[in-house]
């Protein structure tokens, strides 16, 4: 399993290729890439703050849970912090498993938990100034299905 919390941009295609190549014994690979929404062209930038140390611990714990629950062959999480432009990849999740249903479920589980358990905070810089993105009730509710 690999986890990277980084300021640098990444190439989702290259990451998916590398992940797939090493997923020995898997029958399915699911990848998800999250992009910065540009809010109809009005977003000038997004700033992502994080809690160094806790971020890595929280994500590693979530990945361990997923690996245990679904017997994953492999998993990958990349999450950026710092300043990002509209359309840029923010984060990526990949799962490799014996079967498709497991790979999809584990990827969704990782996404749901990342959203409300990994200490990142998004701030949008738009035409009306700067605004912290509010958490959605649905993000917390999404955890109850697991």
């Amino acid at each position: 399993m690999r986890l990277s919390v980084q300021a640098n941009a990444f190439d989702p295609g290259a990451e998916a290729t590398a992940f797939t190549k090493t997923a020995t014994g898997a029958g399915a690979v699911v990848t998800f890439t999250g992009l910065v929404r540009d809010n109809g062209g009005t977003l000038s930038a997004m700033e992502i703050e994080h809690y160094p140390g806790m971020t890595e611990r929280a994500i590693a714990a979530i990945m361990d849970q997923a690996a245990l629950r679904w017997s994953l062959v492999d998993a990958l999480v990349i999450h950026r912090f710092g300043r990002l432009a509209g359309g840029e990849p923010i984060m990526m999740v990949a799962t490799a498993a014996p079967h498709r249903a497991i790979a999809f479920a584990a990827a969704e589980f990782l996404m749901d938990y990342l959203k409300s358990r990994a200490p990142f905070w998004k701030k949008e810089l738009g035409p009306d100034g700067v605004e912290w993105v509010a958490a959605k009730d649905g993000d917390e509710d999404a955890l109850s299905r697991w």
Binding site: Y51, K115, S116, F120, A134
Partner: protein, 82 residues
Amino acid sequence: MINVLYFAWVRERIGLPGERLDTRAATVADLVAELVAREERYAMAFSDLASLRVALDQELSSFDAPLDGVREVAFFPPMTGG
């Protein structure tokens, strides 16, 4: 002594990323009460605890949790990663 960290708008309202505090607070709630009594900017940051989260030594916790043995307390809004 305890390290107290602030993130996102909590950090902005208080005007500090963190500080080292000498406190006898027994619980997180006691620590919040001490901070709120210090200055208006803390009172503003902690005005609605329902909109805040707390981590003790980098694990999510709750406001009624004891601080015994805790080295690092962090306050922040609900997380918005992903």
